[in-house]
C-alpha cells in the first residue's frame, strides 16, 4: 500500500471503517479522510480534512499532502442523513468525481486510484443475460438516478485512465453491500416490518459482506500481489444467489406483493414521507434482480470473499433481530405438527 492514502466519503460508515482499517496497516504513513461533513464516528487517528470534492480546492489538498493512493468512496445512491436531496447526491457523484480525477491528473505523486462503483451500472432489465460479466453491455442503459451517475462516473474514470496511463486505476463494482452497520437503501428496505414486493416477480439478488468489501478495497489500494493484477474493472459479489422470497423467509418478515404501478406509487409516497428511500432503480432491482460473474475477481484480482451471499445475508439478518414470522418459530411449528401427525398415526397401525 502507498505511503499517503486519501479516502473520500469517510463520513459514511463504510468509509470510516476503511480508514480505521488501513490506519493499522504498517506500510501506511498517513491517511487523510475527506468529506463535506464531519463524521460522527471516530477515524482511528486518521487526519480528517473537511473538503467538498465538488470544489477545485481538492486539487490543493492532493498537491500539499503528496498523496500517492486515492480511494474514492464518495459515490452513493442516497444522501447521508436527512440533509440534501437527490440533486446534491448526483452532484457529489458526478461533479465530485470529475473534480477529484482532475486533481489526480494534475498531481504527479498519484500512483493508484481506486473507485468504489456498483453493479447498478448494469441496470436491471428482463432482456439482459442472466449473469453479467465485466464486459457485458446492458441492453437498456439506466435512464436516470444512481445507475446513470455510475455510468457517467465510470466514463470519466476510463477517460482519466487513458490520460494518465502511469496511474493504476481499479474500478470495483460492488453488489449490494450488507453487514451489521450497513446503511444502504437495501438494508433499510430489509428493516421494514413487512416487505413490499412486486407481484409476479422474484428477483435474484447478490450481497457482499462489509468485511469483504473492506478487504477487497485494501487489495485494490495496495501494490498487486504476485500473480495478480489489481487495475481494471472487477465485479465484487459473494458466491451464490438469493431470491427475494428467500431473503424475506430467512429474515422472517412477511411480504406484501403489490402490482408494479402500485409499488412505484407507494415508493414515491414513502420517499416523500421519508420512511425509506425507494428509488426507481431500487424498484427495478427488486423487480428484475441482477447477478454478476465474479471469475475476474477470483482469478485476476486474487480476492476470495469470506462470506457467500447467503452468509452475508445471514449475518445481516442476525444483526437486525427477528421479524414478525421468525423462521425458527415456523420451523418449530412444522416440527410440532409433524410430531402430532406421527403420534396420531402410530396407534392406527
Amino acid at each position: 500500500m502507498g505511503k499517503v492514502v486519501l479516502v473520500t466519503g469517510v463520513a459514511r460508515q463504510l468509509g470510516g471503517r476503511f480508514v480505521r482499517r488501513i490506519r493499522r496497516d504498517p506500510d501506511v504513513e498517513r491517511v487523510i479522510g475527506v468529506d463535506a461533513v464531519a463524521p460522527e464516528h471516530h477515524l482511528g487517528g486518521a487526519e480528517f480534512l473537511r473538503a467538498d470534492i465538488r470544489h477545485p480546492a481538492i486539487a490543493r489538498v492532493l498537491a500539499e499532502t503528496r498523496v500517492d493512493t486515492v480511494v474514492h468512496m464518495d459515490i452513493n445512491g442516497t444522501p447521508l442523513g436527512k440533509r440534501g436531496g437527490r440533486a446534491s447526491v448526483k452532484e457529489t457523484n458526478v461533479i465530485g468525481t470529475m473534480q477529484l480525477l482532475g486533481a489526480c491528473q494534475k498531481a504527479p505523486t498519484v500512483e493508484r486510484v481506486v473507485i468504489k462503483s456498483s453493479t447498478s451500472v448494469y441496470g436491471s432489465a428482463p432482456r439482459d443475460p442472466a449473469v453479467f460479466t465485466e464486459t457485458t453491455t446492458p441492453k437498456s442503459l439506466p435512464s436516470g438516478g444512481f445507475a446513470k451517475d455510475i455510468v457517467e462516473v465510470e466514463g470519466y474514470v476510463r477517460g482519466f485512465a487513458r490520460r494518465r496511463p502511469d496511474v493504476a486505476v481499479c474500478i470495483l463494482r460492488f453488489a449490494n453491500i450488507l453487514g451489521p452497520c450497513a446503511d444502504s437503501p437495501l438494508a433499510e428496505y430489509f428493516s421494514l416490518p413487512v416487505l413490499p414486493t412486486v407481484l409476479g416477480y422474484d428477483p435474484r439478488l447478490q450481497f457482499v459482506h462489509e468485511d469483504d468489501a473492506l478487504d477487497v478495497l485494501r487489495i485494490a489500494a495496495a501494490a498487486p500481489r504476485r500473480g495478480t493484477l489489481n487495475s481494471g474493472t472487477f465485479n465484487i459479489a459473494g458466491d451464490g444467489v438469493l431470491l427475494l422470497s428467500q431473503t424475506s423467509r430467512r429474515l422472517g418478515r412477511p411480504t406484501l406483493p403489490l402490482f408494479l404501478p402500485t409499488v412505484t406509487w407507494a415508493g414515491t409516497a414513502l420517499r416523500s414521507v421519508g420512511i425509506t428511500d425507494f428509488s426507481p432503480e431500487q424498484i427495478r432491482l427488486l423487480t428484475h434482480g441482477r447477478v454478476v460473474e465474479t471469475t475476474q475477481m477470483r482469478e485476476t484480482l486474487g480476492f476470495h470473499p469470506k462470506y457467500t451471499t447467503a452468509e452475508a445475508f445471514a449475518e445481516f439478518a442476525r444483526s437486525r433481530g427477528p421479524g414478525l414470522l421468525p423462521p425458527e418459530a415456523l420451523a418449530r411449528t412444522v416440527d410440532r405438527l409433524a410430531g402430532v401427525l406421527t403420534a396420531r398415526r402410530t396407534p392406527a397401525q
Binding site: D128, A130, V131, D202, V241, L243, Q246, T342
Partner: protein
Amino acid sequence: MADAKVIPFGEEPRARRKARRAGRGGRGAALAPVPEARTEHPPAAPPPPRPRSLDERIAGGLAFLRRRITGDYEVDDFGYDEELTDQVLMSLLRPFAEKYFRVEVKGIENIPADGGALVVANHSGTLPLDGLMLQVAVHDNHPAQRHLRLLAADLVFVLPVINELARKAGHTLACAEDAQRLLERGEIVGVMPEGFKGIGKPFADRYKLQRFGRGGFVSTALKAGVPIVPCSIVGAEEIYPMIGNAKTLARVLGLPYFPITPTFPWLGPLGAVPLPTKWTIQFGEPIATDGYPPEAADDPMLMFNLTDQVRETIQHTLYKLLVQRRSVFF
C-alpha cells in the same frame, strides 16, 4: 472445408406430403395409408417409483414445507430452484405429459448421461407447451433424470408470474451468453430456434420448419464443444389449430401474435383448453461438434451448413413420424 452433410430439402417428403394431401381429400383427419408397420418399439417405461407409505410421504411433505417456509433452499445463478421444480412444477406438468398428451419418447439414449448437450427442437402450438413437455420428457425418461434447461423468448421474462415460474423451472433468456454458460457447466440446454415464427405459424403451415434464425445456437454449441441433439416433436402443432391471427390486437397488447382458433377466443377460457392430441418426441443422433477448431465458430459457411443439417434432420424426422402416426388423437 467443412465436411458438414447437407441433406437436400428432399423430393421424397414433398411427394409424401402431396400424397397425404390427396389422401386427406374430403375428410381431413385421416392420413395417407401407412406404408409400413411401426418397427420401433416404444422405450421401456422408467421403473415405477417405489410406493412410499403414507407416513413417509407426510414426513417428506413436512420436511419440504419446513425448508420452503424458512427459505432454506438453494437456487443457482439463473434462479433455478431444483427442489421446487422436482417436487411441485414437474408434478403439475406430469399429468399433462402422461395422461393428456400421452407423450411417447423415442431415442432418449441420444442425450448423454453426463456433460452438456444442446437439444434443438421444432416449435409449435401457439402456446409453448411443447417446451414444457420436452422438459418433463427428458427428466422422466432419461436414466440419469437429467434436467433440461430451456432457453425462452424475452417476452417470457417481461410477463409477471410467468417470468418467476420460468426462472424457477430453470429456463433462461435465449441469448448466447446464457446458453454458453449453461453448456459449459455441463447442463442439457433446450432451444427452439424457430422462435415466434414457429410457434405462431398458421395451422396450414404445420410441420413446416421455419427459418432457424441465424444459427447462433450452432456456434454456441461449437464454442462449448457439446453435441447437438436434434429433436422432433409431433402432436404439438394440433393442440391449438391457429386459423387466424388478430394482428392489430396483438400489436395493441404487445404480443408477437394473437391466435384465433376454432374455439378461442369464442368460447372464452374454455377455448384455451388444448386439444388432447397424441404426442411423439423423437431425439435424433447427436451431431458432434468437438472435432472443429475453436475458430470454426466464426466461419459463417460452416455455421450455415451445420444449421441446415440440424434443420433437415428435424424436418425429415418430422415427416417420418407423421407418416407413422395413425391419427392426430390416438
